[in-house]
């Protein structure tokens, strides 16, 4: 097997390893919600308020990054037939490393102490660079045939650049430099939100939306947009460091708007709109669309509008927490079901996934998350008064998801015992 890609989907990492990356996510979300509810609200809703910066990194790095790395460990072998090198050794440390780095940064921003930044910049970023390098290495071997594989082939570089720029910023803060180059900051955010988050989500959505929600497949021309639609403007952004001013921000935002419009077009024509998580995808794509529209209209909007806060909430909560919640609600019951199916004798009937995770509960969780998103967007009206309810609502929605996933795990243990025992009983009776 030299020239052709190795067929590796039978070598996908053990579910346990992927669980380790996915399951802590809702509980980090709970922590972020509580931090908003009870943290120091001074300066909110300014995007540079210490609490805003802590929350952004807790969400992006602590909650979302481990899920996305776990997803890539699984997607690279399944979608592209390429296993991630060393995934078995890297995966167990991913969540811990992400949460640790996010906590160090949050402490750095909240207390203004250089120590947190030094930990994050000198230890966290290099350690997180390891899975990023492994994903780059695996991507190198991916044969790009559609939007998802195009994304998989090139996504590692976006994470690596985001970490590199973030590590650099943290080091500058850690060395006591108050405000590093604004361009560096913008470029870090652009690679993080556009190069990594939006590109990854678009690539994943191109496969999972037709799969689970039966949306029409993206047109062939649109499949070719990834990842260059966003990578080219972001790369041009690098020239700003050399003094060459180009409209790369507007180009990237227009790219995000185009991807969101394509996604919306598909989601609105989905055949399985009755699925509880469909609404999450619809709102996620609307959020990205609003990010693009508000970002592009920025210069024409009243200066007192809290655009920074809105863009952050729309991209990270609306655009990322929502689809991550949607996917966790699909993937975890599926992996558990598959695991039960493999462990139990073929003649034992495994109850359907919906009995592991009841749609009515899932619907309630979706409603709570959308309510939290609304409260977060409304926060600038009365920041001091609304931080508590908005934070609590968000924490509650994520505790709801965490609780549901735990209940899936609990049902798994009970079913395995009862069905396994029943199967043994049957075979003994037959003897």
């Amino acid at each position: 097997m030299s020239a052709a890609p190795a067929l590796a989907f039978e070598r996908a990492p053990q579910p346990g390893l992927v669980f380790g990356c996915l399951l802590p996510a809702p509980w980090v979300g709970v922590a972020a919600g509580l931090l908003l509810a009870f943290g120091p609200p001074d300066g909110l809703p300014d995007r540079f308020a210490p609490l805003s910066l802590s929350l952004v990194h807790l969400l992006a790095l602590g909650m979302l990054l481990p899920v996305m790395l776990g997803a890539l460990f699984q997607l690279l072998p399944v979608l592209a037939g390429v296993p991630v090198p060393l995934a078995r050794w890297l995966a167990p440390g991913v969540a811990l490393c992400c949460v640790g780095t996010a906590s160090a940064l949050a402490a750095g921003f909240l207390q203004g102490s250089a120590l947190g930044f030094r930990w994050a910049g000198w230890l966290g970023a290099p350690l997180l660079g390891l899975p990023a390098l492994a994903i780059c290495r695996a991507g190198w071997r991916v044969v790009a045939v559609n939007a998802s594989t195009r994304m998989l082939r090139h996504i590692g570089i976006a994470l690596l650049l985001t970490l590199l720029l973030g590590g650099l910023l943290a080091s500058l803060f850690g060395a006591g430099l108050a405000l590093p180059l604004p361009w560096l900051l913008d470029w870090h955010i652009a690679w993080g939100l556009g190069g990594w988050l939006a590109t990854l989500l678009a690539g994943v959505a191109a496969t999972v939306l037709p799969m689970f929600w039966q949306t029409p497949r993206p047109p062939a021309a649109a499949e070719r947009l990834l990842p260059w639609l966003l990578y080219i403007p972001l790369a041009l952004g690098g020239l700003e460091g050399a003094g060459l001013l180009l409209p790369w921000r507007q180009m990237a935002l227009a790219g995000v708007g185009l991807l969101a419009s394509l996604g919306l077009f598909g989601v609105l024509r989905a055949a399985r709109k009755h699925d509880p998580a469909w609404l999450l995808w619809l709102c996620a794509l609307l959020s990205w669309w609003l990010v693009a529209a508000l970002g592009l209209a920025r210069d024409y909007l009243p200066a007192q509008w809290p655009l920074g806060w809105w863009l952050g909430v729309l991209a990270l909560v609306g655009g990322a927490v929502l689809p991550v919640n949607a996917m966790l609600g699909k993937i975890i019951p599926f992996l558990v079901w598959l695991h039960l199916r493999r462990r139990l004798p073929a003649r034992v009937r495994v109850p359907p996934m919906q009995s592991l995770l009841r749609p009515v509960w899932q619907r309630a969780q979706v409603a709570s998350l959308l309510l939290a998103l609304t409260a977060l967007l409304a926060l600038p009206l009365q920041p001091a008064a609304l931080a508590l309810p908005a934070g609590l609502l968000f924490a509650l929605s994520q505790a709801g998801l965490g609780g549901l996933l735990l209940s899936v795990g609990w049902r798994f243990i009970r079913l395995q015992r009862s069905l396994g025992a029943g199967a043994v009983g049957q075979s003994e009776a037959r003897r």
Binding site: A4, A80, H274, P352, M353
Partner: protein, 144 residues
């Protein structure tokens, strides 16, 4: 038959659409339509599994020498999906709407994760390694 891989993928989409129609019919409480679409979906899926197991997989195994690799995983998953089709059939006979919707939901997820592996990895490999794929698949009498 111009592109045998496109035909196989088309068969996937056809079964998807039929199963989505079963769900739609059940939501509208149209049992005769649900029954009809389920019959068609079952027939389409079983025919497709057979084509893969009888023609495609053996040819891939012969060409690559891999007998216990990906095709073994695919055969296993076909068996699981056949069991799920039986479970659906039982719920259909019992006219248990929620039970059938739940079984269909599981079947759909399983089919999708199976198809994506075939479409992204196994089929392109077959196109690369199996000589004269078009004739091979046409031999089983599947429509072009």
């Amino acid at each position: 038959m111009s592109d045998p891989i496109a035909t196989l993928i088309h068969q996937h989409h056809e079964a998807d659409a039929l199963l989505a129609r079963v769900e739609g019919a059940l939501r509208g409480d149209d049992w005769p339509l649900a029954q009809r679409c389920f019959d068609e979906a079952e027939q389409s899926l079983l025919g497709h599994f057979e084509l893969e197991e009888q023609q495609l997989f053996p040819a891939f195994e012969a060409a690559t020498g891999m007998r216990h690799g990906p095709t073994a995983v695919m055969r296993d998953e076909h068996a699981t999906m056949r069991d799920l089709l039986d479970s659906c059939r039982m719920q259909l006979i019992a006219a248990d709407r929620d039970g059938l919707l739940a079984e269909l939901d599981t079947l759909l997820v399983l089919i999708q994760q199976h198809n994506v592996k075939e479409e992204n990895v196994l089929y392109p490999m077959c196109a690369l390694r199996v000589a004269d794929l078009a004739t091979l698949l046409a031999r089983s009498g599947q429509p072009a």
